[in-house]
């Protein structure tokens, strides 16, 4: 069996770290996700952090916003790499789904996570 996918959460400030802590608290899974913050980074420094986080392994990058420095660095890094996929709009629901489906190819895992994340966005009647 091939190595399970790694999830890299790419965010502003401490969002990535907080999401990772929440996933670990809910699932008990501690080894599936790596947090990367863009704090204090120019484009080059963020690319270095992402490269270290991916560590040349198959990965899905979960980016907080669909634009900006986290996204541009992530897409640049994923460009031309079949084993790295990018999802934007990261939320807890998509990460909870992802950690239990890390055996998929990166593109499929990214699409599945995006669907799980979308399904969690609702406006329940109060």
């Amino acid at each position: 069996m091939s190595e399970p996918l790694r999830g890299v959460i790419v965010s502003h400030a401490a969002v990535a770290q907080a999401l990772l802590a929440a996933v670990a608290a809910i699932t008990g899974v501690h080894d599936a996700l790596v947090p990367v913050s863009n704090d204090g980074c120019d484009t080059g420094a963020l690319a270095e952090r992402l490269t270290r986080a991916i560590d040349d392994k198959p990965a899905v990058l979960f980016v907080d916003l669909p634009g900006g420095s986290c996204l541009t660095s992530s897409v640049r890094l994923a460009r031309g790499r079949a084993n790295v996929a990018v999802v934007t709009g990261v939320n807890l629901a998509m990460l909870l789904d992802f950690v239990f489906h890390r055996d998929l190819p990166p593109g499929d895992a990214a699409r599945r996570a995006a669907e799980a994340g979308s399904r969690a966005i609702r406006t329940p009647a109060a």
């Binding site: 484009t43 080059g44 634009g67 900006g68 996204l71």
Partner: protein, 157 residues
């Protein structure tokens, strides 16, 4: 209106520019001056992705920016011009061009630079470049987002 903000930021178009400044200024267009981005349709698409469709994004080389600066200054919409380094903004302030204020919004750590503010790292040569800009009559301050006070040049160079 005109260009309300001339910004030096090595992240170019990102959240602080689009949301932090763009919302309160109600910007209608953002000019990204960068020779490499101007030459790459793929890079342009990447930067455009973070900008709401109602805001126009203009990509320009430094040379094109010099030619079009007066046109942008006369635009009835509010604009932001962003460049990734001091050299580019310095070029736009040369000669008779109407840049009177420059915002240093983000220059991050690289070898040879030292921390001047949390979001501004400069080499001695870059600090000197900014002082030269100021000596030309350009008001240079550092400010990452509009809710923080601008930091005068003498406090970070």
């Amino acid at each position: 209106m005109s260009i309300a903000l001339y910004r030096i930021d090595d992240r170019l178009i990102h959240g602080q520019v689009v949301v932090g400044w763009g919302k309160p200024l109600n910007v209608g267009f953002i000019v990204l001056v960068d020779d490499a981005v101007r030459a790459s349709a793929w890079e342009q698409e990447l930067y455009r992705m973070g900008v709401p469709s109602e805001i126009e994004v203009v990509f320009a080389s430094t040379e094109e920016a010099l030619e079009r600066l007066t046109e942008w200054e006369r635009d009835p919409r509010v604009g932001i011009l962003v460049a990734g380094d001091i050299d580019t903004l310095a070029a736009l302030t040369a000669n008779r061009h109407p840049v009177s204020r420059v915002n240093v919004g983000g220059l991050h750590h690289r070898p040879g630079r030292s921390e001047r503010l949390r979001y501004v790292y400069l080499s001695d040569a870059e600090a000197s470049q900014l002082r030269t800009l100021a000596a030309r009559g350009v008001e240079v301050t550092a400010q990452d987002v509009p809710t923080t006070p601008p930091v005068p040049l003498e406090d970070f160079t």
